[in-house]
Each structure stands twice: as C-alpha cells, then as structure tokens.
C-alpha cells in the first residue's frame, strides 16, 4: 500500500513537472487522448477467460491501429476480482487505466464482499456474453428444474444443497429460483468452475451454476445442463430449456465489460468504447469468441448501466428478503 501510494505521488509529481516544462516550452494545444499506452487491468490470473478476452482485444486493437497507442494488459488477480477492480476504481480518471470484468461487481457489492459497485465506475462497454445455467450430474436422477424443486420440497429447510462461490452470481441464481418457487436451497461453498463441477459430479451437492462454456467443456466429466437463464435457447445446447420455459422468470447472461474510474471524461470513454466496438468486427477476434463459446454482442455504457442497475436490484432483493445467511 505504502509503496503504491508513494509511487503514485511520485508519478503525479513527475507528471506535474513534465506538464509544467511542456507548457513553458510549447504552445498549449488540446492534448489528444490517448497520449500513452492504455493499461488494461485484468483482475484474474493469466490464462482465464477474462484474460484471454483482454489479450485478444489488445492484439486486435494494436494490429488494426484502432487506438494510436498500444494497450498494455496487466494482471492484478486476487480476492475474486476485488483487488484489480479496486485498483482501477482508485486510479487517476484519465482513461489510461481501465479494467475488464463481469457482473460479479454488482453481486459482490450486494452481498457485502466489497464496498463499491458499478456506480463507482464509468462504464465503457460490454463485449461478449455467455448465458449461465443450472447443471447436475449425469448419473443423478435430477434432469429438470422440476426435479430440483421437488427434491428441495422433500428435504426442506435448505438441506437440498448446491455448489456455490459465495458473493458471485453463481451464488444468487439458485436463490432467485428458490424465491419464486417458495422453497429453500442450501449453498455449499466450492469455489471456481472446476471446484463446483467436482462437488456436483462427485455427488456432494445436488447441482450448481455453470456457464455454457462449462457445459460444453465438462460434458465428458459427467455434467449435464438442466436449464439456462437466457431469453432464448442456445445454439450449441438446443435441447436445454430456458428458465422461462420451465416457469421461472430468472435471466442472467454473463458479460465481459470494461470499466474506467469514476470521473473519466465522457469523450475519452467514447474513444475507448469505439475502439472496442470496432475490434469486435475483426474476424480473428470473432474466431476466438467462437472457441470460447461466447456470443459477440456489443453494448454501450448506458445500456450496460441499466442492465447492471436491474441486476443489483434483483440481487439486493434476494439478500434483503431471502434468508441467505446461515442460521443454526
């Protein structure tokens, strides 16, 4: 912390001196943005989906010269993304430091894991979506949402367990279903995708939330999709019903979105959004998206903000009304 603070001070000082010198020497003109490499913070470890997405954007934007400066991808992993997102939240709002993440920003805030949400950022855009859904073990007798509901009715009081990663969307989606069905599911902490897979396939919990990519990847491991929280069926999983078809109004399509610190000038956010939007037209980027099982949907800051506001409200409703916490 201390070193960070000193370095930032040093940077500001150096910057001030540089600007002073420059002002003295040159005729002041409007500084063009961006004037130095744009640092993209990836709040997860190298190699994950978010990291891959960030790097394909970096490559595409560099190669097609969509920004006059290169992008620099920096991993700041830790604490389910909270470390990296917090770094960017506290950065200089000049558009040169941005972060890529998913809707965990709002669920972490709603569940009290972090003390900031998307309103503490300027939203640049969303690039790419991936529906989430419930999955069970193939060798279990649970094949539909109705099976899960009746299972929870047979073992009441939250004894019907699901694998979760506390504070992230995968924690709240089953609770939304349970809320509408008037039953209780009991969360059991498992962690990331493979840990949840292990818990479900190993028979320790009954079900869990997974992404479409997970369903495709872990088919051999014995995972079967039961329902997708998407507006319509997915092209790669045509036999899996949507939540609406199963009678529950729960929708949660996971997205990859880009955030800048609060107070970043609107014109700079727009320049970045345009570069991202243009990059999404590049064929090599679309190819990577296909491999990742992601839909190449682009959304501007305002639409993403409205979406996130809505999600925050829905999660807050669950946190406030449903008994999410452990009671003896």
């Amino acid at each position: 912390m201390r070193s960070d603070r000193i370095s930032r001070k040093g940077m500001i000082l150096a910057g001030a001196v540089a600007i002073g010198l420059w002002m003295g020497l040159a005729v002041p003109v409007q500084a063009a943005f961006p004037e130095k490499p744009v640092k993209v913070i990836v709040p997860v470890k190298p190699g994950g989906t978010i990291d891959t997405v960030a790097r394909i954007f970096q490559k595409t934007i560099d190669e097609n010269k969509l920004l006059p400066v290169p992008m620099a991808v920096v991993n700041k992993p830790g604490a389910a993304g909270a470390v990296g997102t917090r770094t960017v939240k506290d950065s200089e709002p000049d558009g040169h430091t941005i972060v890529i993440f998913h809707s965990g920003v709002v669920t972490a805030a709603a569940s009290g894991v972090t003390d900031f949400d998307h309103n503490h950022f300027e939203i640049i855009a969303k690039t790419g979506e991936m529906p989430m859904g419930l999955g069970t073990a193939k060798d279990s007798s649970l094949n539909t949402v109705a099976d899960l509901i009746s299972g929870a009715k047979e073992t009441p009081g939250g004894a019907f367990k699901y694998a979760t990663n506390i504070g992230l969307p995968v924690h709240f989606l089953p609770l939304m279903v349970a809320d509408q069905a008037g039953i209780k599911f009991g969360p059991v902490q498992a962690g990331g995708g493979v840990n949840r897979l292990n818990s479900v396939v190993g028979g320790h919990t009954k079900f869990g939330v997974f992404s479409v990519l997970d369903f495709l990847k872990y088919d051999a491991a014995g995972l079967q999709p039961v329902v997708l929280f998407a507006p319509e069926r997915h092209a790669k999983l045509p036999n899996v019903p949507t939540a609406k078809e199963s009678g529950y109004d729960v929708s949660w399509v996971e997205m990859r979105m880009w955030l800048a610190p609060k107070g970043t000038p609107k014109d700079r956010v727009d320049i970045l959004a345009k570069a991202l939007g243009d990059a999404m037209k590049a064929p090599e980027l679309l190819k990577t998206f296909g491999e990742l099982g992601m839909d190449a949907t682009f959304g501007d800051g305002d639409s993403v903000k409205a979406d996130l506001d809505d999600r925050l409200k829905r999660v807050k409703h669950i946190v406030d009304t449903v008994d999410v916490q452990f009671k003896k």
Binding site: G10, M11, I166, Q189, V324, Q325
Partner: protein, 157 residues
Amino acid sequence: MEQRKNAFEISVGIGLIVLCAAVLFESTNIGPPLYDPLGSAALPQMASVIIIAFSATMVFRALRRGRTLDGMVEPGSSVPSKPWIGLGFVALCISYLGLMATEITGFRTATILFVATSGILLAGFRPKAIAIVTLLALILGIGGRYLFTQVFYLDLP
C-alpha cells in the same frame, strides 16, 4: 555460539507471541459467521492461540536450557560467520527495492547499482572479484531488462 543460537529461539518466540497477539486483536473486527456456522474468525484465532502456546514453551525451554549446554558446534560452521555481511546485504536488498518503488531509478540503473555494491560487499574488496562483479552488474542490468521484457514479456519497474 550456543548463547546466540538460544537468542534466536527466544527472540523469534517473543516476536511470534507479539504477532499473534496483534492477530487476535485484529480478529475481533471480523464479522460474525455469515454463511456457515464457523465464520472467518475462528481459525485465525485458533492458530494464534496454538502459536502463542508453542512459542511460550519454546522460549521457556530455551531460557531454562540457557547455561547448561555443552559447546556443540553446527557442522560446517568451522569458519566464523559474518552477521554484518548478511545484515549489510539485506540492507542493500531493501534499498534496491526502495529505489525502484519510489521511482528514483528504473530497473536498469537500480540493478547495476545493487549488483555492483552487494558484490563488492560480499567479495570483501578483492580487486579481481570486483572487476567481475561490475561486469555482471552491467550484464544483468542491461541484458536482464532486455531478456525479461522482450523474451518473457514480464512487466518491470
């Protein structure tokens, strides 16, 4: 020799006790259990208590043993050790990091300075070693920067 070894047991033990006391104090800020019956404070507190108990036993034993030990010498310590060189080396390590963290110098300059000074300290001012150390400093500083950023794509200060 023996006395100094005991001194390490005693000071490490006391240090650990102080550290765990601080942890115990800080753990009172941890919220109550949210999603499971145990909560986040239980295990750190348990660990701290165990460490305090073991450290106290270690300190107590070291104090009691203090004078009664025979002069057993560790194997391979026939040559006197040089705690001052070690201390100086650690101090140089910290200054090296400090130079980069405060952005007084970048990786290249700091590395050249560090390798040269620490090498001279360790070599005990042997002229031939100093010459090699200076060369090494230049190679590591300039070559290292190239190697790490261009070949391994690492981020350097």
